[in-house]
């Protein structure tokens, strides 16, 4: 039984597995679609909006990580419009929290930083919001720094889907969203 379907990515005919996401399929064939919240082995949530692509016949942009492939689908992953939107998205991420690369412990090994460099984000056009957000230093080995959080929820999903501990969640909504430990306790008070 042949369970393969075909899609076109940037004009190239590519075999795909039904049920797979556009992002997985593109990455498996060496195509570059930027993403920050996607992580292999975890469910997809479409949180970061960086993997938005154009699908022929659909009049809005779709996140590649949560869009399943369909036979005959024609997808554009690189266009001026997408490049512009992706830069805007990254700039908004930088403006939303306090990202200070020079003194950040993740400097030079940071997905956000390297993606910004790859996509040519050299400045941020929006006013920084400089939110006053907490740093939880209560854990003996780790620190939670909300200043650097982009709400990708990778940690939430690893903790729930890989570890099964369900320690982390996101509280509040929109720009006020914050990562919280066990219904908003200090990390040191968690059983984990």
């Amino acid at each position: 039984m042949n369970n393969k379907i075909s899609i076109r990515i940037d004009g190239e005919l590519i075999p795909a597995t039904p049920g797979a996401s556009l992002l997985e399929t593109a990455l498996a064939h060496g195509k570059f679609i930027p993403s920050l919240c996607h992580m292999k082995g975890l469910s997809s949530v479409g949180a970061c909006r960086l993997c938005l692509v154009e699908v022929a016949g659909v009049n809005r942009l779709l996140p590649a990580c949560t869009t399943p492939v369909q036979d005959g689908m024609s997808v554009t992953t690189q266009s001026d419009k997408l490049r512009r939107y992706r830069k805007i998205t990254l700039e908004l991420l930088f403006a939303e929290r306090n990202h200070v690369c020079a003194v950040c412990v993740s400097n030079s090994h940071c997905d956000l930083q390297s993606l910004a460099q790859r996509l040519g984000v050299t400045s941020v056009r929006y006013p920084y919001t400089f939110p006053k957000v907490p740093v939880d230093l209560t854990h003996k080995k780790f620190a939670l720094d909300q200043n650097r959080c982009i709400l990708c929820t990778r940690c939430v999903r690893v903790c729930a889907e890989v570890e099964g501990a369900h320690v982390w969640a996101v509280s509040s909504r929109g720009v006020g969203s914050r990562l919280v430990c066990e219904l908003n306790r200090a990390w040191a008070d968690s059983r984990y």
């Binding site: 020079a102 003194v103 412990v105 907490p134 740093v135 230093l137 209560t138 003996k140």
Partner: protein
């Protein structure tokens, strides 16, 4: 009627400053005011950050001598962890600091002040800069670049990066020194030493050419403060802060860094973002004191290295035991560069320098920590308070240039009284007022790299406060 004359070249100070000269009815200088017009805010925005990030954050205060902030910061963090760091870690930190002294003193002397000294205070301002120096005195310019290169390369070999390295960490350093890197640094020392010797010889030969400047460039009795060891030898990484009065009597010592506030108070000035530290027992503003090269050589009995000690003897034969003219900061700076190069050699020959145990591990064991080092410009104090988890609650940073705030103000007044004619502001006078500030090698922003336009403003005011003339150099 006010007018603006723009002198279109960099004025060779680090940071942004404005000087006001007030005139009396006779057109003579009545008073002067030195304004530092930048606000940085480091003490406030570090609140809440983990203490172990402080070295990386505070190093960003300065691009010229980040190593000084790094070292003061890691020492404050050592105190919070309540650890004695491994010997190799301590020696490596001192070695790094010596390299920093060489490069920073080279920058101050050759790049910033040599144009005044070698080309003349009244020379054409268009050429009175490092480019003019390259044209007229290419050998001096080459020496300056080579000496700074040596210091910067030594820092790079030790710490991995020339600017803002992450090598110094609370508890020590994060990587031992390899024999290869030690040998590389050693191989550069003879050239560095010969440049410093040559420059000292040239400078001493020029001394008689600046009688007016020697006499009136901040030539005033003040107290002096600097680090020494128990035997009164010059120290730059660790030691006791010693205060001597204008006559040379030792009047106070700070043996435990955390007790600095018993002797050092900080006043705020209405027209400047720079705080004005003062010696508490004498109060503000009488407790003005100086730090940095001149003060260190006044405070210490000896340098503790042979060549620098010989130079120190000659220096004192020429100028006396306590030297009060800030013009001689330049001279003292060169002797210190010699000391730093000699001390580097001593350290590089110590077998324990290559020991691989370079870092002590610990968490928060004290709620408060103070780190004091000698930055090239003078005593630098970092004082942190943290909560039980190590989150910063409060910080106080007293930078070397701050200690000089009162002394610089007085020096500006002295130079202005001597050289400024109220009826017209001459370029040579402007330059001398700038040059006395330069003698202190201030780092006003404590962040700027030696690039771009650094404006300095002089304003001549009538007794009624009317702006008569404004000169902007930058």
């Amino acid at each position: 009627m006010s007018r603006t004359i723009t002198i279109d070249h960099v004025t060779r100070i680090e940071g942004h400053a404005k000087i006001e000269i007030h005139l009396n009815d006779q057109g003579k200088v009545a008073s002067t005011q030195f304004h530092v017009t930048q606000f940085r805010g480091f003490e406030k925005f570090v609140e809440g950050r983990p203490y172990y990030e402080m070295p990386a954050i505070t190093a960003r205060i300065c691009g010229i001598c980040p190593v000084s902030h790094l070292l003061a910061s890691v020492k404050a963090c050592d105190a919070i962890m309540a650890v004695t760091i491994p010997e190799a870690g301590r020696l490596l930190r001192e070695l790094l600091h010596c390299a920093q002294f060489v490069q920073s003193h080279a920058l101050s002397f050759f790049h910033l002040s040599a144009p005044d000294l070698l080309l003349g205070f009244d020379s054409d301002p268009k050429l009175r800069n490092v480019v003019g120096l390259i044209e007229k005195h290419p050998e001096a310019a080459r020496d300056g670049i080579a000496l700074r290169k040596f210091g910067q390369q030594a820092i790079e070999r030790l710490a991995g990066e020339r600017i803002h390295p992450s090598w110094t960490v609370p508890g020590g350093v994060n990587k031992p020194l390899s024999a290869e890197n030690r040998d590389f640094i050693l191989s550069g020392l003879p050239l560095a030493r010969s440049i410093i010797r040559r420059t000292l010889k040239t400078f001493k030969a020029m001394l008689d050419g600046f009688p007016a400047e020697s006499e009136s460039f901040g030539n005033m009795p003040t107290m002096h403060a600097g680090l020494t060891d128990f035997d009164n030898r010059l120290q730059i990484y660790d030691g006791i802060v010693r205060f001597r009065d204008a006559e040379g009597q030792s009047v106070a010592t700070i043996a435990r860094p955390v007790e600095y506030s018993r002797y050092i108070g900080e006043a705020s000035m209405p027209d400047s973002y720079l705080k004005a530290p003062y010696f508490k027992p004498l109060g503000y503003p009488d407790g003005a004191y100086r730090v940095g090269p001149l003060a260190r050589l006044n405070v210490a009995e000896t340098c503790g290295t042979p060549e620098a000690d010989l130079e120190l003897i000659e220096y004192r034969q020429r100028l006396g035991r306590m030297v009060h003219s800030s013009f001689f900061y330049h001279y003292a700076r060169l002797i210190e560069a010699l000391y730093a190069s000699e001390r580097m050699e001593d350290l590089l020959h110590m077998p324990e320098l290559l020991d691989t145990h370079v870092r002590a591990e610990a968490s928060v064991n004290a709620r408060e920590g103070v780190g004091i080092v000698e930055a090239p410009r003078g005593v630098l104090i970092h004082h942190y308070k943290v909560d039980d988890r190590g989150a910063m609650q409060w910080a106080n940073l007293i930078v070397a240039t701050g200690h000089h705030n009162l002394a610089m103000n007085r020096s500006i007044q002295q130079v202005a009284e001597r050289f400024v004619d109220g009826n017209a502001l001459k370029e040579g006078a402007v330059n001398r007022v700038s040059a006395v500030v330069r003698a202190y090698d201030p780092c006003l922003s404590c962040s700027t790299h030696a690039f771009g336009r650094v404006p300095m403003q002089l304003r001549l005011l009538s007794p009624e406060g009317r702006l008569l003339q404004e000169v902007t150099a930058g």
